[in-house]
Symmetry: C2
Subunit: 295 residues, 2 copies
DNA sequence: CCCTGTCATACCCGGCGGGTATCACCGCGT
DNA sequence: ACGCGGTGATACCCGCCGGGTATGACAGGG
């Protein structure tokens, strides 16, 4: 009565995402009618209207939006349970494969910190094998939540860290990256106000939650594209200090005085109990002592 | 294949908690054989041994312990999805009942802070109705996770705050509570070392995670019992400043110089999007400004 | 040694999840 | 205005699987 099968959640999430029973059914590999029926049963059992059917398409009600969010979380939790159990089972057998940690890192992240951490950890006695999983910055949170990754390196204020445990490692300033020939490139330092609204050189726009804020600058999809556009004199970008390592000869980096610091954190799912993970975090805390202690 | 129904999780959690198929089946309201079969199917599908069957009882494997922990979390998430969706659905209908927030508080907590917060919030325009749910200190985290409560007042270092969003409100020192006639009661202040190992007056033991650390002092189950035992000269306890409000004439409170501060936090589930909750947190932040901002 | 308590196996049945066919309804184009 | 396409809902059927009962296999204990 007051329980909910993951099957029902999968169905509802599919419909809520597609806003179209036919397409959702296709995605689920089933026919439309049983899907309609399942959603109706769900609404009846919850005693709540989830979808507004308007003859032409479907809209979510307030309760539907809540269930979409909560349902995704529950599905992630269930998927995480499967993954982590399977991994624990593999490592369980004596003489089996070495414990393994999956570390999710932003694909374009600085190599230095990562190498330093991996080298130090590998030197530890009975350290686990670490698989580095490069991915998008938004993907990291999903990977941690659903168990495909055990630990991640994240960057505030870009990542939210909400719902995870974390430890701050390293803070760095940010720089403006300009075309080498630009007048501003000669300056010793700049403020955010300086780089905003430079005539003819709009600030590049990064996606937040998959969508782009409106603005004049170009929409950036990856680091190479950004580098290209800056070199062509089409845009300017604000990036952390360590990004200097991938700059080209056609680029110039000027420190920003008032940009927020970017803090690298090591982040893991709350309640995690893996010994290997604890070892990695301990190593990180030893390499970068004196930062705050997460919560 | 790689998905897992909440039914299967419920079954496994029941067996893992009872460590006995028959009792677990009884708890689930079903017969033992189908439960056995379900667990076998689960193990086959996961490709992992979860239970060690020893002819006489059942033991968890490492993977089983992982699945117990992760499965509970997933079940909590699913239950939370149901509860929050139902609540959102009720508030959805225009002219329906006012939005409601369930606030979980430690039963023996100080009344002052709570009253201040509730009064200030009630005075806000379009504030929601707040239901105060007194409960045990360990229960709070479970209530928040499974959606029975929307927000809680917790106390570090007693609560862990792990996996939640929070905002620190008020820090307070701790005092030693002694029988009024005791020699130490005359002191202006004490250190932790002073109250530990007082001859004939062992430190009271509070449960942590339902279990008591070994030691000479009495095991405390509730505040009244503690007050009784102190008044009888059988024990001494360390409690936060605000607990002075429930002391008896037979008690004496002496400030401790080196006990960790107890910080009251307002805590809510990560990713919560309720407007009413946001209002309550804003009120709290206004009443107790300048503390840290959670994570 | 049998009895008791445990989990596993064998077998049957009913419900329900899913498929196919079709309906009801609306918007749109001609 | 009417027919057509596309939407979700309804009707009906079927096979599978989740659950029950009966029983087995096996280890400990009196």
């Amino acid at each position: 009565m007051d329980t909910l099968e993951t099957r029902e959640l999968r169905y509802f999430v599919a419909v809520a995402e597609e806003l179209h029973f036919g397409r959702a059914a296709g995605r689920l590999g089933m026919a439309q009618p049983p899907l309609s029926r399942a959603i109706q049963q769900l609404e009846r059992r919850l005693g709540v209207r989830l979808l507004e059917r308007n003859r032409r398409g479907v809209r979510l009600t307030g309760a539907g939006e809540v269930l979409l969010r909560e349902g995704r979380a529950a599905l992630d939790a269930a998927a995480a349970a499967v993954r982590r159990t399977r991994r624990a089972g593999g490592a369980d057998s004596p003489g089996g494969p070495r414990a393994r940690l999956v570390l999710a890192v932003k694909a374009a992240a600085s190599h230095e910190l990562l190498r330093k951490l991996l080298d130090a950890y590998a030197a530890e006695p009975d350290s686990a094998e670490i698989e580095v999983l490069p991915c998008g910055i938004r993907e990291q949170e999903e990977l941690l939540r659903d168990g495909r990754a055990d630990v991640a390196l994240m960057y505030t204020p870009w990542n939210s860290l909400t719902g995870f445990d974390s430890e701050a490692l390293e803070a760095e300033g940010q720089v403006a990256v300009l075309p080498a020939g630009h007048p501003l490139a000669a300056r010793e330092s700049l403020s955010l106000a300086d780089v905003r609204d430079v005539p003819g050189l709009p600030l590049a726009r990064w996606p937040t939650r998959g969508t782009y804020a409106p603005g004049p600058g170009p929409e950036i999809h990856n680091q190479t594209q950004l580098a290209q556009l800056i070199a062509l004199g089409r845009t300017v970008a604000v990036v952390p200090d360590s990004a200097r390592s991938w700059l080209w000869a056609e680029h110039a980096a000027v420190p920003l005085t008032d940009a927020p610091s970017v803090v690298t954190h090591i982040v893991w799912p709350a309640h995690s109990r893996s010994l290997a993970l604890a070892g990695l975090v301990r190593t990180a805390a030893r390499l970068w002592p004196g930062q705050n202690a997460g919560q």
